[in-house]
């Protein structure tokens, strides 16, 4: 007896939501992250690992700061700026925070215009983001110079108090600054791809055979927002403690 089995139902079934959705997604014997390009899922997983690295730094910093019997240098004064003959606490760090938040805002809008295939706006906003990121790194270089040359702070000691201050400071902000610098380089690469029309014409990238798509702008955005996110934590626990 021949029996026809319908193998094509015409359209895919809607994905279940809630807890049922989690179980269905993970047990589907397919990719677990539905509706997400794999590049984006991989970026999220990379960011998770980076979260653990930064957490290790910040938690070690907390441990050395809590366990030292020497007084910790007051960040509010160390990072103050003298403006018009008046010293304002933490001014430089506040400006850096606003610069980085602004770059996150322009990045978010670049992603939006990217998905609208608005090549010019995406390009301009990516360049703005890169410029703000570079400004941030520049200000950080200024801050480091001030601390090293004028305050005499070294990773192994400083004249202001607990020796661990320098080690924690240079390690944490250095690692974050490296992330920002790498982000600026990749922002410029992404911006170039956008303005050349690589993504509109689905040209493969330099090191991959995969077609260029506007999702790379969003993946770039995830990385950039993460850098901003880390700064939120550094700002709170290092500078405001």
């Amino acid at each position: 007896m021949a029996q026809a089995i319908q193998t094509n139902t015409g359209q895919s079934l809607p994905l279940p939501e809630g807890i049922q959705g989690i179980v269905a997604d993970w047990s589907s014997d397919q990719r677990a992250f539905k509706n997400v390009p794999w590049g984006k899922a991989m970026m999220w997983i990379f960011l998770l690992s980076d979260t653990f690295i930064f957490s290790c730094f910040l938690i070690s910093y907390m441990t050395v700061r809590m366990s030292t019997t020497e007084p910790w240098p007051n960040p509010s004064e160390v990072f103050g700026l003298t403006l018009f003959g008046k010293s304002i606490p933490l001014l430089l760090i506040a400006i850096m925070t606003f610069v980085l938040i602004s770059s996150s805002g322009t990045m978010a809008m670049a992603v939006k215009f990217g998905y609208e295939k608005n090549r010019k706006m995406t390009f301009i906003l990516l360049l703005c983001t890169a410029a703000l990121g570079a400004t941030f790194v520049g200000m950080q270089a200024f801050e480091w110079t001030k601390l090293i040359l004028h305050e005499g702070i070294r990773p192994w000691g400083n004249p202001l108090g607990a020796a661990q201050f320098g080690a924690a400071f240079f390690m944490i902000t250095g690692f974050h600054g490296t992330h920002v610098s790498i982000g600026v380089i990749f922002l410029l690469i992404t911006a170039t791809k956008v303005i050349r029309g690589d993504l509109d014409h689905e040209r493969p990238g330099f090191m991959t055979g995969r077609k260029g798509k506007y999702e790379i702008v969003e993946i770039m955005g995830l990385y950039w927002h993460f850098v901003d996110l880390v700064w939120v934590f550094i700002f709170a626990v290092f500078y405001l403690w």
């Binding site: 509706n35 809590m66 366990s67 978010a108 998905y115 700002f235 405001l240």
Partner: protein, 109 residues
């Protein structure tokens, strides 16, 4: 509500609003230092503004709000484990501080 394959598409207004909100929260946390709040009030405010900012960035700028729960939980649950590392670090630091006080700084305790 679920994002489709084309990617995340949201009106520009939401990004501008969150941007403004992040500015306000950053100013607020700066003012905590500027006005020299101390003690538990300082800690409460700093951590509150920090978590609000972090939440807004992850939820809206990184589009976590519109992702499926499978991705949300895969990323957010492991970070909760860090709270244990934080707790262990704090316990260890307290102990180190105590022993340093006992052995190196006679008279501190």
């Amino acid at each position: 509500m679920a994002a489709h394959v084309e990617g995340q598409q949201h009106p520009i207004g939401i990004y501008l609003k969150i941007w403004g909100l992040l500015f306000v929260l950053s100013t607020a946390s700066y003012l905590v230092d500027y006005f020299h709040f101390q003690g538990y009030l300082r800690w409460f405010l700093i951590l509150l503004f920090m978590l609000l900012k972090a939440g807004l960035i992850v939820a809206v700028f990184m589009h976590m709000l519109w992702e499926r729960l499978a991705l949300m939980y895969a990323i957010l649950v492991p970070t909760v484990l860090l709270m244990f590392l934080l707790g262990i670090g704090a316990l260890e630091a307290d102990y180190t501080f105590l022993t340093r006080g006992v052995f190196f700084l006679k008279g501190l305790f």
